[in-house]
Chain length 142, copies 2
DNA sequence: GTTACTGCAAACGGTTTGCACTGTC
DNA sequence: GACAGTGCAAACCGTTTGCAGTAAC
């Protein structure tokens, strides 16, 4: 959990106060190895007897997104999920069990080509692969 | 609008009835050269004095998606948008004016590689590029 | 002490649903 | 004539907001 100090640092540098609630949310984001919804964060907070309102979770997540600390991802179901911004990567999602796996970027140089071709200034790209994970393939066969 | 006949055909083949409402929705989807939200379809229907309820629009869009006739796209804002499924392509979105431009796929063979590498059965992938279109870049400078 | 932040409750907006009626096949 | 599809109104659920009280700096 030494990472937490880095993130607290980042908050302070941006002039954002380090409240208990924000630290608790950051902790969960750091611990989670997959994108996580506001609701999921909320229930994990509930478990750990630190009482934080759902609206607070949303407010802070949105602020983190605005500050570029957190990325908001919209998946096929209606729920948005959030992850810490550290490296550039993409996601492979199992359509059966919703497991999300990070993937390295197969389009490293492509943005420049695209920019030349279209005249757009490319700011970011997002890729999602959808499929069936090995486990769920097995389950389907049996 | 000769395309419309093809789509009607596709509905019939799937045993879906060709109601006025469905035809009207299909027409709008065919005419639109960019993904379009349920609300937008609804207002266009309203203009053309064919009265269709918003819930009917949603019900039919969902059915079309289930039948593989229409693709549902989730963009960064909360609204989902829909487009007819005809070819495989991706989207380039302007963050200022929300213009959506189709793009050919830069990852034609990648799915196979990924499948070998991860053991996943890859069913589809979606890519979105976000940036500023030439017009909006100009506007920002001035 | 100031002012950003939180709790709380209520609103909001996109989407879905239940039910009686209607129109397609 | 049967049954899928529609209109209508109400519910649903993720998310946002207004306001008064609280805590970080």
């Amino acid at each position: 959990m030494e990472q937490l100090l880095n993130w607290e640092e980042r908050l302070k540098n941006k002039g954002i106060r380090c409240t208990k609630q924000r630290i608790a949310i950051l902790k969960i984001l750091i611990t989670s190895d997959t994108p996580i919804s506001a609701q999921e964060i909320f229930s994990q907070l509930d478990d750990s007897n630190s009482k934080v309102r759902l609206s607070t979770v949303y407010r802070n997540l949105n602020q983190f997104v605005a500050e570029g600390i957190v990325r908001k991802l919209n998946f096929a179901d209606q729920k948005n999920k959030f992850e810490l911004v550290d490296d550039h990567h993409h996601h492979l999602v199992c359509l059966e069990c919703d497991e999300v796996r990070p993937l390295e970027c197969p389009l490293e140089q492509f943005d420049n080509q695209l920019s030349t071709k279209t005249g757009y200034k490319i700011i970011e790209h997002r890729i999602k692969f959808y499929g069936l994970c090995p486990k769920c393939q097995e389950n389907k066969e049996s």
